[in-house]
Symmetry: D2
């Protein structure tokens, strides 16, 4: 994951401090630059940030200074903004991550367009020999009921065969990639008798579980949107692992916003007009079942799940 | 512009400092929160920032630490990125301003969509009694040659009449706004016998030179794009005055990027394929005039102006 | 609103038709170019569109042709996409409007950044002598309970005074604008002895209820987001009037998407984690009041309103 | 590339026409839905479009009808808009493509964020057994001078070995992917004794030259920006092949815009402030060489190349 040299660079960066007049968050400063491991070779680390809970309030009020209101008033305003989807004040805080992640995860992640990204270039440089191999507890069979979901765990020989395939195919294609590049770490040819294939071509031989890395910067509003989608139970486990690690950085950074986010987004449920009508009948004491509800089986099931009831 | 109370809030904010591990720029810290006056009642002040020249380089290299390269190597990379329009590393730095500006300037400015904005709400609050009145040296007649440009200065009675109209119309409509609102500073009715008109309606009586204010946050790449358009000689003077004030903050913040921006954007010229063909003929010693150039009069004139030659 | 000459241009455009292989919607074709009046001088008219309900399905399936599935299957997929916030297929349909609207409405509207806009330029051209004056049934006093809301209607002398102020201030500032411009319709000076003020300056004398106009283009996903915010009861009446007129065009254009939007957005309600806990207690038969709920008064009130119950 | 069934779907779509009042472009209608082959198994086909050259002009003028100006006036306005980077009118036209492309090309392409995308989902469906294998004339060695460029062609045994590796690794990893999925075309297990691995996991075994496909929709301004970057000689050949195919659709669609784009973008050159100073000295008759120019060797070389001169 992180080599000794890289950790030394990180430690050096952590050791250097400066005086600033900017909004500063000690709990996030404590985490700064340090890598949180994710999956088998990946990580997330915070590189920089701008703003804090008070800065969100300050922007919402377009104020001249930091203000003299109580913390409780600020928290109340943040809850109000979150509840009524006043998103612009949350756009006033910004965070930057360095992430190491498998390419197939990067391909899902990049679909969120409201972020700034600098990816390590395999046209320009050589990728590390690191691949994501699922741990046994995440090696799932295809779900029968959900075309884009997972079913039971694979076990025994079936699991062993899959792990063996993933590992050996990744290693073989990587080794062939390195062979085609024909490049020593110092840039000289490994075999002086051969020309190396252009990097921008050779990379196409790599498998999608190869790790890449990027700098990814996002404002808080769009980060929360990303996290609400990617910490969801329907998100693929591998990207959820990154979202969960980032959620912990948000909690350290903007605790009031995080609390409101948990209440009004992560733990919230939206009922359609049809579901709302059923809810009113239920609250009026009527015993409603799926047929009487007028909802499809699927929507009925989702509604009962949200209410924690048996369908 | 800034009241004594507001300046006290700003001073208090400037007095408070903290330790940070983040990239910090002393020259910009020195400016932080302080208002730079623009036009007669407006200002620009930097509220927060993220990143510096080195952070742009770090993102371009997707590196683990701040690196050990020389400053000159960083400057060279920044010039390369600017020249080849590799914009993503410049998106990795971010800045936030508090701006007070006339509404008609705000309407031009907001057309730049790649920024985050929180504007003071006249649905919610009452605007200040402040209007932009051009100073005599900016009171220009309509240009004859350019439908969206200025011609000679108005002087004498003509100037006096215009200034008188602008001033008296702004004051009358503002006073009628205040009358319709019927609201004392503490929120009580001025005249208890009357109901005040809803703020969201009363504001429509204000003229477009009334000042508003906002928090405006933008990444460096998009800020430079904004500045290249709005510091241009074709931009309306009133928005150019803001762009010029912001340009000075960019110079303090990211001096290497600023130098590259001056060379490859502000001072650069783009020649069309047709102009390039003419240029090659001229360099080969041919005396080309407009007719022989194949360019339209307008394009020929623009080309000669760029080359500092008489048409 | 629309002059005879403008209507003739519209009629000419409506009379011309062509053959196309593109997805075509007869119900929207019937409306095309025709202006729907909004407020006293404004309008909305559809200028162009791309896609239909089937095109959304086709994009979701990344298919080669229009497919042979039943309409009911398509409707089911659209409901699924809407319910699970799979927004990208709805981005595949696009619509373009021409809108005439008061400047203060334009200032709210432009905050939606994910659209393309061409506004009539008052730097370049002269605005029409048209202002929004609220009709008596929309002339509301400031709300006591909601800082950005309306309370009772103004009536009698109070109403008459407000209408008189709005009308006379708008006319006076416009007439002074025209006087300062000193320009006849053919561009010649009205008074040859005077120079006209530059258009880009003169416009600042106009009040915010002056009408402007623009071309506004948006994809269906972002349009629905705009409409969900701006048809909401908390939106200011004047922009809601435009949103309501546009909603009718969406119903004609993509009826399946419109039905799903009504069910899962317009008529839907989101309950926070805290509200959901209360709901479960109520469904279990407990009589919960605000104090026992653990919710703030405001949140309790919002929850009861959503359930159609007395607080 | 396109199967017989898919071509039948395309032909059926091409056969169906309707009457429309919308702006319609016969030259683009003729191409509609038809696939243009790109690389060995890829294609680009236009699925839908909105607007034409006249619609750009209409938006720039915010007009009521199609207008009565001459075609030459429209062309002049389009040239003016392009030259002065007035981008918003070009955002008023929109186009939608269906593209089949290797994953490593898709990863470059997706970096352009101002577009709408629906990609074929390998979480949900199974990818085709198709991989990009470069043709011999594109099998280049790494460039010695440009870290992200290509050098000489590989030939003989070296070429044969590379092609063999690319082909056999892609086939082996695909066959293992299919084996792990254990799914027949009808969804039944190939081997009923085994559970198939979840699709969302199995896909990670594929190599980056596997073909994917997507619907991609973009406005004309952002499309031109994409094309100016991706038809450039510095762009990787494989994405340039797609950009070139799309350029032909733009020429058919908006010929006036295309002509202006060629003159003011594709064939244009930007000289920095430093280069401009050198240019003026050269035009004044001075013989300037690199040393005397004050430019770096690289910038001098780029300038001489733009002027078609020996350095």
């Amino acid at each position: 994951m992180i080599t000794r040299d890289q950790q030394a660079e990180i430690d050096a960066a952590r050791a250097a401090t400066a005086q600033t007049r900017r909004a500063t968050v000690p709990a996030l400063e404590a985490m700064l630059f340090q890598a949180t491991p994710v999956l088998d070779h990946g990580f997330v680390r915070v590189i920089d940030y701008m703003g804090d809970d008070a800065a969100i309030v300050q922007a919402a009020r377009v104020s001249y200074g930091r203000g003299t209101r109580k913390v409780s008033e600020d928290a109340g305003l943040i809850r109000y903004l979150m509840r009524h989807r006043h998103s612009t004040p949350f756009e006033m805080a910004e965070i930057k991550y360095h992430v190491k992640l498998p390419i197939f995860v990067a391909r899902q992640w990049i679909r969120h367009r409201t972020a700034n990204v600098n990816e390590y270039s395999a046209r320009y440089s050589i990728l590390d020999r690191e691949f994501y191999i699922p741990s046994p507890e995440h090696l799932a069979a295809q779900s029968d009921s959900n075309r884009q979901g997972r079913g039971d765990l694979l076990t025994g020989d079936a699991a062993a065969e899959v792990l063996d395939i993933l590992r050996s195919d990744a290693m073989r294609t990587y080794d062939n990639y390195a062979h085609m590049l024909n490049e020593a770490p110092d840039g000289a040819p490994l075999d002086p008798a051969r020309q190396g294939l252009a990097r921008e071509l050779a990379r196409m031989n790599l498998t999608l579980n190869t790790y890449t890395q990027w700098y990814w910067k996002c404002d808080l509003h769009n980060l929360l949107h990303f996290l609400s989608l990617r910490t969801d139970a329907h998100a693929q486990y591998e990207i959820r692992a990154y979202a969960d690690a980032m959620l912990a950085t948000v909690e350290a950074w903007v605790p009031q916003t995080f609390a409101a986010f948990k209440d009004f987004r992560l733990g919230a449920v939206t009922f359609s007009a049809g579901m709302l009508a059923v809810l009113k009948r239920m609250l009026a004491g009527e015993a409603v079942d799926q047929k009487a509800s007028g909802l499809s089986k699927r929507e009925w099931g989702e509604m009962m799940a949200a209410l924690g009831r048996e369908g």
